[in-house]
Assembly symmetry: C2
Homo-oligomer: 342 residues x 2
DNA sequence: TTGAAAGCGTTACCAT
DNA sequence: ATGGTAACGCTTTCAA
């Protein structure tokens, strides 16, 4: 059923029907109501592609998914979906990225210039992120999930990684730990740098020298968590505590600690960052995992919300949101073992 | 840059340019080449929404994401994205589902009648799935990831869950296990039923009575894996082996077994289904996890491929693909403990 | 092999 | 408060 046909069945003009359905104020309440009811009854729905053509709006928010199946991603998107429910906006996942940087840029370029999305969300930015420069240059609406150090004014939402890791590290120091290892995220990403800074500042405040041999940067997988922590534990003196970037990393650390005949929470303390997954819970680990905690799903929902505001005309430079991260202490952290105290 | 403007810069008509870019045969090779080069040079790209309106194609495949942040989902989509790279087709994730069944149906209805997608992928079907009936009724192209028992002819791709679990269970029986617990997926989903059947058939073949107290159906989370296995282990006699639906479930089982002072691979054997995640590896667990194994990412890639074929005109009733599942034995499975043998 | 012109189904401007 | 009509940018007959 097309607008013309539908309108003539109602004895109205296409114009009036269109206005009634789009909620324009100048249409009478009575008419609006009748149109709405008949639309449902007769099953009329505007052709989305015609609407898109004429309005220039795509009705979708773009997300570019990295090649590496990030487990965070599904949670974030699920949060977006939650918020976008009821709005007439979809999530468009663009095939591929992460081959090399040039490619990624051209991918963003194609996506935004193709008119398939009204805005995009940029994940895991670098301090000087090319994607941000590109999008700003194109004058295209975007929200950064994470932070950069660019001068370009833009909308962003982020968690306070630096403070979270500083507190986590300080707490370990309070417990008497001196050799604290850190398994961080990928090199060059701002969130990794922030976590590095929080870690180093905490050490420095207490006069503990920074030892680069206790720090790793990589993807968040159980395997890498295992490998790095295993190799750190082979050092002498060995670290008595770990700060880790993800739940998966923590799983690897737990394994490594056990494999050395050590006990988490006693011989080795562990704090990891928990994005709050429904399928893997810090509290349920054995021993339960102390964690810096912030819901990825909530971030996704709020991101969608902010993008909506952006599209609604709110200035990008006004949209900056920094979320506090909880530090939840559980059984995986305890006093540094006596023999390890120097 | 619009077609008209671009065409006039080339000294050609819009018609010819359009044909050249769309690869129509009647345009001369020389012209086609020139048009293609100039398009790149001048940065002309057809307005996607105009194309969509006039062709009636949406250029997107729809996926409906459940409310529960399924960790499988990201891998599947990532596989889709991999295959769709280079094609001019996006993945459209539709906000929400999983509230109640009626709602989900109306959601599918809206999605496909809205013209935003050319096809949809249906996940985790039930034997008599309303979504399949709906889509078939609407004559809308779709691919089912999983199987149903409906008479409606349709395209599907699935793994051989029944055979996988039968082999897994049989193997445990070969090892002397008699009390084998099963932590399966959600009630009512075909894949859960297939796994149930594989499990029961294996028992029956060897004359082992089926005990409903050893079976659970639920979401795949570490917490539920822990809770069910914990409660099973409290039975007397306790089960000596577990068959589990996911890696997360397996994590929970490992914890529960340890919490009882038992040892996986010795006191209790475990086989779980592994969808092959980059961030959590069966081989790396301690002890390494025996698993039925099939790559979710590969399924996603192949699904995208099959949808493309479907849209290319291949009849749906011709598209049935059943993937064999590997059974990989590692350290989590061993002979039933002597004292437990009856 | 190329071009002119008629749609595709809406929205939004300008009238009334 | 309602209606006529010109876009929106492209593809696709129909002609040449």
């Amino acid at each position: 059923m097309k607008l013309k046909e539908f309108a003539s069945q109602l004895g109205l003009s296409p114009t009036t029907v269109s206005r009634a359905l789009s909620g324009y104020p100048e249409v009478s309440e009575k008419t609006r109501k009748r149109v709405a009811e008949e639309a449902v009854r007769l099953g009329y729905r505007p052709n989305i592609n015609a609407v898109r053509l004429v309005t220039g709006r795509a009705g979708a928010i773009g997300v570019i998914m990295g090649r590496t199946g990030e487990f965070h991603f599904a949670e974030f998107m699920s949060g977006m979906a939650e918020r976008l429910d009821g709005e007439d906006i979809d999530i468009l996942v663009s095939p591929t990225a992460d081959r090399d940087a040039t490619d990624e840029i051209s991918l963003y370029n194609r996506l935004v210039t193709s008119g398939r999305v009204d805005a995009v969300i940029v994940h895991s930015p670098k301090p000087n992120d090319e994607r941000i420069a590109l999008l700003h240059g194109l004058g295209f609406p975007f929200l950064v999930h994470g932070r950069s150090e660019t001068d370009v004014p833009h909308a962003w939402i982020d968690i306070d990684n630096e403070s979270a890791i500083r507190r986590a590290t300080s707490h370990l120091i309070d417990l008497g730990h001196r050799r604290i290892a850190m398994i961080n995220g990928r090199h060059g990403r701002t969130f990794s740098l922030h976590r590095d800074k929080g870690y180093r500042d905490a050490l420095q405040e207490r006069g503990i020298p920074f030892d680069p041999r206790l720090v790793a940067h990589d993807h968040f997988t159980d395997e890498l968590g295992f490998r790095y922590s295993r190799s750190f534990l082979e050092q002498s003196p060995r670290p008595t505590a770990f700060v880790a970037g993800s739940m998966m990393t923590a799983l690897g650390i737990y394994r490594a600690v056990r494999s050395r005949g050590l006990v988490v929470g006693k011989d080795v303390s562990v704090i990891a960052h928990d994005d709050v997954f429904p399928y893997l819970t810090a509290e349920n680990m054995v021993p339960s995992l102390s964690a810096t905690r912030s819901s990825m799903r909530a971030a996704g929902a709020r991101s969608a919300d902010l993008v909506l505001q952006l599209l609604g005309g709110r200035p990008a430079e006004e949209i900056h949101e920094l979320w506090t991260v909880e530090l939840i202490l559980r059984e995986s952290t305890g006093p540094a073992p006596a023999e390890a105290q120097s």
